[in-house]
Symmetry: C2
Subunit: 148 residues, 2 copies
């Protein structure tokens, strides 16, 4: 178990809670809903400990992690009825391995362009809507990872 005291994913510090809300804790990852819901349903899947590159995971870790990433993408797709899911791992600034999963709609924000973070004014959902969105995503994700 590797951990970095300066990493907000490792420490689960206030910075993390300012940016996102936990959806569900899985075997190899934790899923968070971003507070900025410019793309409604946008989540992050963060690896369970401090790795920085995909090839630092063992084959078994990678397979389970990617099953979880796939389950989250399918849940977001199902809940949002988006036209395309975008997936990205950047991490120049925050290298802890985490995948952005971003639903895109043809008539929505940033269609046909890479999605951005913190560039536009954040879209915040009412608390009740956040709660119901998290519940729906969590149900679908748990069902998906426990099957097959």
């Amino acid at each position: 178990m590797t951990s970095d005291p300066n990493c907000f994913y490792c420490t689960r510090s206030q910075k993390l809670h300012d940016l996102m809300v936990e959806v569900v804790h899985l075997h190899e990852s934790t899923v968070y809903l971003l507070k900025d819901q410019t793309h409604r349903g946008r989540c992050v899947v963060a690896y369970r400990d401090h790795r920085t590159e995909l090839f630092q995971l063992s084959e078994a870790e990678r397979n389970t992690f990617m099953k979880e990433v796939s389950a989250v993408a399918e849940a977001i797709y199902g809940v949002t009825r988006c036209d395309k899911v975008n997936y990205a791992v950047f991490g120049d600034g925050v290298p802890h391995f985490h995948v952005h999963i971003v639903p895109k709609k043809k008539d929505g924000a940033e269609w046909g362009k890479p999605f951005t973070t913190g560039v536009n004014t954040p879209t915040l959902l009412p608390e009740t809507e956040t709660t119901s969105l998290i519940r729906e995503l969590k149900t679908r994700i748990e069902k998906s990872v426990s099957s097959g």
Copy 2:
């Protein structure tokens, strides 16, 4: 085997050859080096047939595909000595499932920002350098996917 006659990854049309050069053909994917080498070593790993979302792959397909993606990322990391690898699947315009693998350097282009495509003037390498880069990547990728 699904194929889309309007998709340049499926048809391997002139459009594909205008944008990239084949590095190696693997079990679940084909790896291409982008002609625009603004990020030296930047590749695309394209799924072998026309799927558009990660969750359309079976578990076995996903595991093999991600092993190949991981091998390509490690090869690029080894060859370029970059500081961080970025990975992204967009596809709003070109939905055929393909992963951009982009080495980033602290003193290089777009550090700390999402990488772009076709925004800046392309950086083209001399043909001899392209050939040697492809050879080095191919050797590392084949070694990696054939082990373990």
